[in-house]
Amino acid sequence: MSEAPILEVENVTKTFGGLVAVNDVSLKIPRRMIFAVIGPNGAGKTTFFNLITGIYKPDKGRILFDGEEITGKDPAWIAARGMARTFQNIRLFGSMTAVENVMVARHVHTKTSYADALLHTPRYHREEKKALERSMELLEYMQLSHRAHELAKNLPYGEQRRLEIARALALEPKLLLLDEPAAGMNPQETEDLQKRIVGIRDDLGVTILLIEHDMQLVMSISERIAVLDYGKKILEGTPEEVQNDPRVIEAYLGRGAAEGASS
């Protein structure tokens, strides 16, 4: 693997008041990998995502994305470079239709100027059509095309989660960050989701970084796992290594779950 990693995080720290939410974390994520971050509640996983996507600015450390420094840059700028995410609590644009939600994410890939939009130039029509088609394709891909013209807030929970993924994919990301995509899903639905995540990586060549508490999902699809605890990275390794590490079992898995996941 001579290719440079898609994401390099170097000694990143973030504090809230007195609380050190992310403490000196470094991480390298190779291209086209499914990489998971796990850890107890409040370990700083979501905060870590927020740092990478630019929603928070790190107090210390550096973040490189695709070889380019993105530390402290605006989230929109980072997103335009090809990093997309979903949220732990679903954040769709409720009063827009599903397809419009996806089209919003086509913003940076649509090359119409203000004047184009006002004058309805041929370029406007061309670009608008392209955006619509691409969005519909993505809905199709996430099996949501029947919902295209429904308001996002009216979709059932599971479909909202999938719509969030479709929207993220519309950014044509190189790296996709998923924050607890299986939360609130039953085992059956989780399994579907699992297949789709692998599919996204295989079909689109997108690198995936994943936060999840569902060990079944994490252990079966991720190739590497990092464990956070109290903001610190305590371990990184393959699922087997992680699963059998006593610190992880003690702080996170608990004995019962460790057995459950391996069964």
């Binding site: 979501t46 927020n50 929603i55 949220f87 732990q88």
Partner: protein, 384 residues
């Protein structure tokens, strides 16, 4: 010129303080309701006005009956407060509650309702006053006790000047240090060093201008201004205690943060909201009566301008925060008075008192740019 400015300073700050307390009193009502409903209760200025008018009526009606002005004032405060509270509760019942029951999420809808309520109340009060007296301007009677003027000892003025100058130098020193850091890469100076520098400069200054500073500064204060300060401090402390230390206070905050879950705790949100309006309305009414006493003239449209100012003060301090409302009021009052008095001198008459609001708003914007949550407001970092 400078000498006049220095000599005026203590009086300007004192007047600013009084004005600030007036704004603070009104701002408390805004913040109170905002804290619960996250609603800019535009109608609060009319609730305030209702209190002011009711207070005037009380004064006028009872002037012949009750001789003791303090008793009369207490009654006026009580009646003004009560009338305002009743108006506030009615407004909540009739205009806001139906909106809440409908579960409208758009936050502008209650805002428009509030504006409608404002229009309505203005003309309603005018109608009542018009039918009653055939005129709608009401004047607060004057009482010698309230208008008695006291001279403040000179040393207070001297200390005020010294403190102000010290703060001024401190800011300058801080800014200078910032420049040094920025352009010369110097290490930041310690706060204590800055303070010492500022204090030293202040001493030099006092020495240079001692003939000015120790001349008669002529600070005077009227009884009614003292009353305003006392009452608003009492209101501030009372409200802080109520909201942070009592069960009702916790319930109010709980309803503010999540009414639905609050009802799962056995709290009736309607009752809590009503009580909040009651308290906010009462405070508004009391503020109205004091306003009238201080500035003499009240009428149905008297609430609008102080209302806007007080609302600005509430935002400046950090809306929803009780101490913030008070601090915002004081800051705004002082700024207004400083701008109103000094602009004329500083620009040699080109820009006068009429620019005081511009100055106040500019500073408001400036402060908000650095502290978007207001002076005291907490940064409620949205958890993503």
């Amino acid at each position: 010129m400078l000498e006049i400015l220095i000599q005026l300073l203590p009086s300007v700050l004192l007047e600013g303080l009084i004005l600030g307390f007036v704004y603070a009193m009104i701002a408390l009502g805004y913040t109170m309701v905002y804290g619960v409903l996250e609603l800019i209760n535009f109608a609060h200025s009319e609730i305030f006005m209702a209190g002011a008018v009711a207070g005037a009526e009380t004064f006028i009606l009872l002037k012949g009956v009750i001789a003791n002005p303090f008793l009369l004032l207490a009654l006026a405060l009580l009646i003004g407060g009560t009338v305002a509270a009743v108006v506030a509760i009615l407004v909540e019942r009739l205009a806001y509650r139906p909106l809440r029951k409908r579960g409208t999420t758009n936050r502008l809808v209650p805002l428009i309702t509030a504006i409608g309520v404002s229009f309505f109340l203005q003309d309603l009060v005018r109608l009542i006053e018009g039918l009653w007296h055939n005129a709608f301007y009401r004047r607060y009677p004057s009482f010698a006790v309230f208008e008695a003027t006291y001279n403040l000892p000179n040393w207070i003025g001297v200390i005020t000047i010294a403190l102000t100058v010290w703060v001024g130098f401190w800011v300058l020193a801080y800014f200078g240090d910032w420049l040094l850091r920025r352009f010369k890469n110097r290490a930041p100076a310690k706060g204590r060093t800055l303070s010492l520098v500022a204090a030293g400069l202040t001493l030099v200054f006092l020495f240079l201008y001692r003939h000015v500073v120790f001349a008669d500064l002529g600070m005077t204060i009227q009884m009614k201004s003292i009353l305003v300060i006392v009452v608003s401090l009492a209101m501030l402390y009372g409200l802080n205690w109520l909201v942070h230390k009592t069960k009702l206070g916790i319930a109010i905050r709980a309803v503010a943060q999540d009414a639905q879950t609050a009802s799962l705790m056995g709290i009736d949100p309607d009752v809590i909201v009503s009580r909040t309006f009651l308290i906010g309305g009462f405070l508004g009414g009391v503020a109205g009566v004091l306003f009238g006493l201080l500035y003499t003239l009240v009428h149905p449209y008297v609430g609008f301008i102080p209302g806007i100012k007080a609302f600005t003060a509430a935002v400046l301090g950090g809306i929803g925060n009780i101490t913030g409302a008070a601090v915002g009021g004081l800051v705004l009052g002082m700024l207004e008075m400083l701008g109103g008095t000094y602009l004329t001198f500083l620009t040699n008459g080109a820009m006068g008192t009429e620019y005081k609001d511009i100055l106040a708003f500019m500073i408001l914007i400036f402060i908000l740019l650095f502290r978007p949550q207001g002076i005291i407001g907490q940064q409620l970092g949205e958890k993503v």
